[in-house]
């Protein structure tokens, strides 16, 4: 009986300790910005730059005394939780940000996690600046969600350039992860390029854990494509696809639409194999001054450079700009400001738009570089705005 009771007491103590949790009280003039992102596990290469970029921008503002709103200086603070790309964790962390930390602005990474939190965000009247590829996210029913990352509909413009400058290319094969992202990007892209007169000869999907692409590629290559579009596949997968496709004798070009670091791809695929690859949203030379400076600051603070941080800084840039414009921390007012403000991100002038396409102007729009890999270096070809504004 003694042991039973003490057993129970032990459990209760654990529960109690957990309930008390980390400290809560903070000074009045600190504004908290929530980040729910994968900080561990396979998706951490996205989550870590997400958190780091946000922190870096806020730190620089804080170093200058803070953000000036209504004549008062406010310090900005990032509250980041790891959701490991697990839905239950994603929902729990966002709930924690809203219910426990009292955060009014969040940035969630990952399509499935953002979707799982759609209602929590709407019902909690919280401003969300997500980074995700997820169909249906930018929609009139999510007025407080401002998608801060170029999604497939924003990245198709380069096909016009390709059509003009490489008219011999006709047959396009697409391959993408077997998930929302993949389906959506293939759907958007095929619709777009078919209008331009291209023939889509293969639509293949692969499991994110896949490493042996030979079977998929064998199917694709029997269709004799001129170009293989890997859409926004992760860098590791792209590297393997390119390497294995070349081994199987593919001589054509590859296109990536998702800001992939071509040097990471080349590491896996081999430098020679990525030659001529087109990539949208990434450039190595000539590098704009603003990005060079960002790279220096980022590397100084965090050590390892991650090119993903360039675009993942958008939520912080947008948030700061909108608060300045609104001169208020009220999410509704900040949201209104987001709808009209024009601000600088690392590529140039950015704003939220896309009303024609989405029915609501909550999609970030900014010029993205379009590069070709020459001598192993992603060299800028042109800068392109999305097809819709």
């Amino acid at each position: 009986m003694r042991s039973q009771r003490s057993r129970m007491l032990a459990c209760l103590t654990v529960a109690g300790l957990v309930a008390v949790g980390p400290g809560i009280t903070r000074a009045q003039d600190v504004v908290k910005f929530g980040v729910s992102t994968p900080l561990s596990g396979p998706a951490a290469p996205w989550g870590i730059p997400h958190k780091n970029a946000t922190e870096l921008i806020f730190d620089e503002i804080n170093a200058q005394g803070g953000l000036d709103v209504g004549g008062k200086k406010y310090k900005l603070e990032v509250v980041a939780y790891d959701h490991k790309y697990v839905i239950a964790e994603g929902v729990a962390t966002v709930n924690r940000l809203i219910a426990k930390d009292g955060v009014k602005y969040v940035s969630i990474l990952g399509g499935a996690v953002v979707k799982a939190n759609e209602e929590a965000v709407n019902e909690g009247r919280v401003l969300n600046l997500p980074l995700a590829y997820a169909d249906g996210l930018v929609s009139p029913k999510n007025p407080l969600t401002f998608h801060s990352f170029p999604a497939p509909p924003e990245t198709t413009s380069f096909w016009k350039w390709v059509k003009q400058n490489h008219p011999s290319l006709k047959r396009v094969a697409t391959i993408s992860p077997n998930d929302d992202t993949g389906w959506w990007s293939i759907k958007v892209e095929t619709t777009f390029i078919q209008k331009l007169g291209y023939e889509t000869v293969a639509k293949e999907f692969f499991e994110r854990t896949m490493t042996d692409f030979n079977p998929v590629l064998l199917r694709i290559l029997t269709q004799k494509p001129d170009v293989i579009s890997v859409l926004a596949s992760p860098a590791g997968s792209v590297g393997l696809i390119i390497k294995q496709a070349r081994e199987l004798g593919f001589k054509g070009r590859f296109i990536h639409i998702g800001q992939v670091d071509t040097s990471v791809v080349a590491n896996i695929a081999g430098k020679a194999n990525v030659e001529g690859m087109w990539v949208h949203g990434f450039v190595q030379t000539p590098l704009p001054e603003r990005i060079k400076s960002w790279q220096t600051r980022y590397t100084k603070k965090y050590g390892e450079w991650n090119a993903t941080s360039i675009d993942f800084a958008n939520p912080a840039f947008a948030f700061v700009a909108a608060v300045k414009k609104a001169q208020s921390f009220d999410p509704k007012k900040v949201a209104d400001a987001l709808g009209v403000v024009e601000f600088d991100n690392l590529w140039g002038k950015a704003h939220f738009g896309g009303k024609d396409y989405y029915g609501i102007g909550n999609q970030i729009i900014y010029p993205m570089p379009f590069s070709e890999v020459k001598d192993g270096v992603a060299t800028l070809v042109t800068q392109l705005l999305p097809p819709h504004n």
């Binding site: 293949e204 999907f205 896949m210 030979n214 079977p215 029997t222 590297g239 393997l240 199987l248």
Partner: protein
């Protein structure tokens, strides 16, 4: 499917099967002797690949040296796992299983901070392609086949022609009788752990230059190895070889014809059907 495509996917299947075989052999060996399923096998595969990354790519040693280092280091690790986890649990099958699961989770989770977040890669050791029967196959894929075959033959010779190998077979058949012949059962169990781990490391090391490296890379091969040993019969070495080859071919040919996921689903359904009608696998024997 054209004949050329078939040949191409069949050759790739054999190469893939060779890797599967190496993975499955260690698992089946450890099961035969100790009746445990080594859930940490995938994590060991991953570590084996990372040894190549550090010793061959970062350290600049010849690939062959790194390959041997990978097998040796992970072999030692296997022996230590026997000493520090398997032995204290005293042969409890289910606690061992849970402990090995915990070890796997630990190795995977610790892998990210230790190895870094980004996918790692190892440059190809045998670059280029070769034309076989009119189709191109990458040389590094082809090279897997002889290396894996050499390891399988080596293992076969070791088990059948050496004293320790005989002791392993003896323990598999009757642990107590083996002890009565003077076999130190603990040491030989440790050896089985070492060999099992070394084989998993070898398959990881072979795959390192071909695929990319990340701490979770062992999950899929582990599931494949599970399928194989169920297919071939738990504890059966010929079964693991046949099962590995079969699965390699299914994965390549069926996946080329129908797509990767249907192939994966098919192999699982196949397994469940097989287990229901022949519970001991193709080569298994009732205990």
């Amino acid at each position: 499917m054209t004949p050329a495509l078939f040949v191409q996917s069949a050759i790739i299947g054999v190469s893939l099967g060779s890797i599967y075989i190496l993975m499955a052999l260690g698992l089946t060996l450890m099961f035969g002797m100790m009746h445990i399923i080594n859930f940490a096998h995938g994590a060991v595969y991953m570590l084996g690949a990372f040894v190549i990354y550090y010793v061959f790519f970062q350290g600049g040693m010849p690939y062959f040296v790194a390959f041997v280092a990978s097998m040796v280091l992970l072999g030692i690790f296997g022996y230590l796992v026997e000493r520090s986890i398997y032995r204290p649990i005293k042969g409890g099958i289910e606690p061992t299983l849970v402990a090995l699961l915990a070890l796997t989770t630990f190795l995977q989770a610790a892998g990210y901070p230790v190895f870094g977040q980004l996918d790692k890669h190892v440059p190809p050791v045998f670059p280029g392609t070769r034309n076989i029967l009119g189709v191109g196959i990458s040389i590094e894929r082809l090279m897997i086949i002889p290396v894996a075959a050499a390891l399988v033959i080596g293992l076969y010779l070791f088990i059948n022609n050496t004293r320790l190998g005989a002791a392993m077979r003896a323990i598999e058949q009757d642990k107590e009788a083996a002890a009565l012949q003077g076999v130190n059962v603990h040491v030989v169990n440790g050896l089985a752990f070492a060999i099992g781990f070394a084989l998993a490391a070898a398959s990881g090391a072979l795959m390192a230059p071909i695929f990319k490296l990340d701490p979770m890379m062992g999950e899929q091969p582990l599931l494949k190895a599970f399928i194989i040993i169920i297919l071939g019969g738990l504890g059966s070495i010929p079964g693991a070889i046949l099962g590995g080859l079969m699965l390699g071919l299914i994965d390549s040919i069926v996946a080329t014809a129908l797509g990767a996921e249907p192939a994966f689903l098919l192999s699982f359904v196949f397994i469940i059907m097989l287990l229901l009608f022949r519970p001991t696998g193709l080569f298994g024997y009732a205990s």
